[in-house]
Symmetry: C2
């Protein structure tokens, strides 16, 4: 049974209808001609673009106009450090790393430890602040260029951020925040102020360098609301509106493929191979038939199979993926075998990621911006 | 004609009824027994106490209990740097300096340059931030001990302050801010958040030193609203409620003696002797009779005479002040002569203040806390 969708920066729930999000949020679908325009610069397209995992945008054409005029952009994305990093988070950052490489772009990466403290009753500030640096290891492990990547905790970079956030805050009324996020008089005043802090990296490099620099934000679609606000305010401060490119959620492992991975069981970047295998065997929602005989005869349904859907995020080789799709659909590939493919794929990724993550501790300082 | 009173941190208007403020704000009048208790420690009483210019308080008895138990307090006051400093501002700080001397207390002095930017449409952040340091010269000129006095701009000390402000903000809803200040949905989100920043110095020394230290805030009564909120929240964070001691406003020069100096013509700490003389001769509201003959016969009314009221703030010698009172009331002292006494008194003060203010530029760094 379809569950009503909720997509806000703090809650993603129900079956997600991405077409409806495009209409409701007022974003543009990523068209074939826009993909071709990107490809002109990147030679190849990232699988997330080919597969429409990044599926809509704001002002990407304008951003490419500027780029082609010799006005390069910087990247901005972030993380709310309320817990360890799970595979859903990693996917946006992998794509961001690709953008950095292809466009030789600086990345400003915001750890919103203030936000998570303000919005989560059960979290202390010291916890979210500590998690900011633990989570940063996962970012660094993906291979970002230390010379072009600045990671900062809102709490520890507050002197720089608060000064700029005030300029946003002065242009932003409670009315707007209320209608954008559905806040009420019972929200705390930190929650109400918070979008001001999340807006700052959109123009901070411009403010610090004293010239207007375009900004591209790769993000999961749930964060769009903040930047609808930011985009309204930026011209009032004399800055460009940031361009956005939005990602679908990694589907929930236990769901029907339409729910976000933020619900239900998670695979953490720190999980060992046995944990990964156990979780997938136990929880991954199957699109296969009830019996082997039936499956061989009628085949499985990859569209609703969580393991297959996850492979669209983690198997980069289109040909391999296509073969899996057809083998599963035809009944040649059993659910257990499909799960094993996912287990192996994730474990290969995680083994390497975990090694890089530990090495990242030694170079953390090179990435961190503090006041 | 009496004008309805408005007393908020951002607006003071109309004829002030201080008894009514005590009832509405729920403060305690400064009783004779409390004054005696203070005097036990200070030997003499500051003229502002003898004259009930500081007229009410919160938790002063508790503060003295702690002091007598060997648990000394620190002082916290501040300034909204929206313009130069006028004589109305100086008066609270003069008293604060006396408290520092008598109780050997540390002073934390907050320059709310963020607040003034957020609340004043016509001010830029760079202006309020610059004014914070200009205004600090007036504070330093009063003779505060550089070893025991920390002056900080909210903007330039934001890393330290924002981290702590988040803890206040999480406990403070829009509902509370709305009912305390009369805010609406049209207020900007910075204004809504702001009380969190003003609360921080109440517990910052405790947070930094890892032990609970009592705090006394000398302040003009209009700032009480912020600290009603702060006092509710402090115990939830494990800190003492700050004690407060409230000052009447220096009356408006041009008003009937009941309006605040924040209305109408100001005397700035940078005014030269001729400017001071001109302003007082031209604007100071007189309680004298219309003609010299009538004045000699019926006398003047010091209660509504702005010059006399100002002398209660600036003439420290009780005997001199009493003589002026009687001479004026009896008609012996003419309005012009009374004005001249005030002019001379202020110019003596200002000459010395201006010299010290210029010297303060050289030692400013010794007082300033920055991240």
């Amino acid at each position: 049974m379809a569950q009503e969708q909720t997509v806000t920066p703090w809650e993603v729930k129900g079956d997600i209808d991405y077409g409806r999000l495009i209409r409701e949020f007022g974003t543009e679908p990523l068209s074939e001609s826009l993909l071709k325009r990107i490809q002109k610069h990147t030679k190849e397209l990232h699988p997330y673009l080919r597969r429409k995992i990044f599926f809509c945008h704001r002002d990407l054409n304008w951003l490419l106009d500027e780029y082609e005029k010799g006005n390069p952009f910087f990247l901005y994305t972030g993380r709310g450090p309320s817990e360890n990093v799970h595979l859903g988070h990693i996917t946006v950052w992998k794509f961001t790393k690709w953008l950095q490489d292809k466009f030789d772009a600086e990345l400003w990466f915001q750890m919103t430890d203030d936000e998570k403290f303000l919005f989560k009753d059960n979290l202390e500030l010291e916890q979210t602040n500590r998690l900011a640096y633990e989570n940063a290891l996962d970012v660094i492990a993906l291979g970002f260029d230390p010379k072009k990547t600045k990671i900062f905790s809102n709490i520890d970079y507050a002197k720089t951020l608060y000064r700029q956030a005030l300029k946003v805050a002065k242009k932003l009324t409670f009315s707007t925040v209320k209608s954008t996020f559905g806040f009420t008089d019972s929200n705390n005043v930190g929650e109400i102020f918070y979008t001001s802090m999340q807006s700052v990296p959109c123009f901070l490099p411009s403010a610090l360098k004293g010239k207007n620099i375009p900004c591209l934000i790769p993000l999961a679609i749930d964060q769009d609301a903040h930047f609808r606000i930011t985009r309204d305010i930026m011209p009032k401060l004399g800055y460009y509106k940031p361009a956005l490119i939005h990602q679908r959620f990694l589907p929930s492992l236990a769901g029907s493929g339409k729910m976000s991975a933020s619900e239900g069981v998670q695979i953490w970047t720190t999980d060992g191979p046995e944990e990964v295998a156990k979780k997938i065997r136990k929880y991954a929602f199957s699109g296969g038939a009830d019996t082997v005989e039936e499956h061989r005869k009628n085949g499985g349904n990859p569209e609703i199979d969580a393991s297959y859907q996850w492979l669209t995020f983690f198997e980069e080789d289109d040909k391999k993926l296509e073969k899996i799709y057809h083998d599963y659909k035809s009944g040649k590939l059993l659910s257990g075998e499909l799960k094993q493919i996912l287990i192996d794929t994730l474990n290969v990724f995680l083994k390497e990621h975990q090694a890089k993550r530990e090495k990242a501790r030694k170079v953390l300082d090179k990435f961190i911006l503090k006041d």
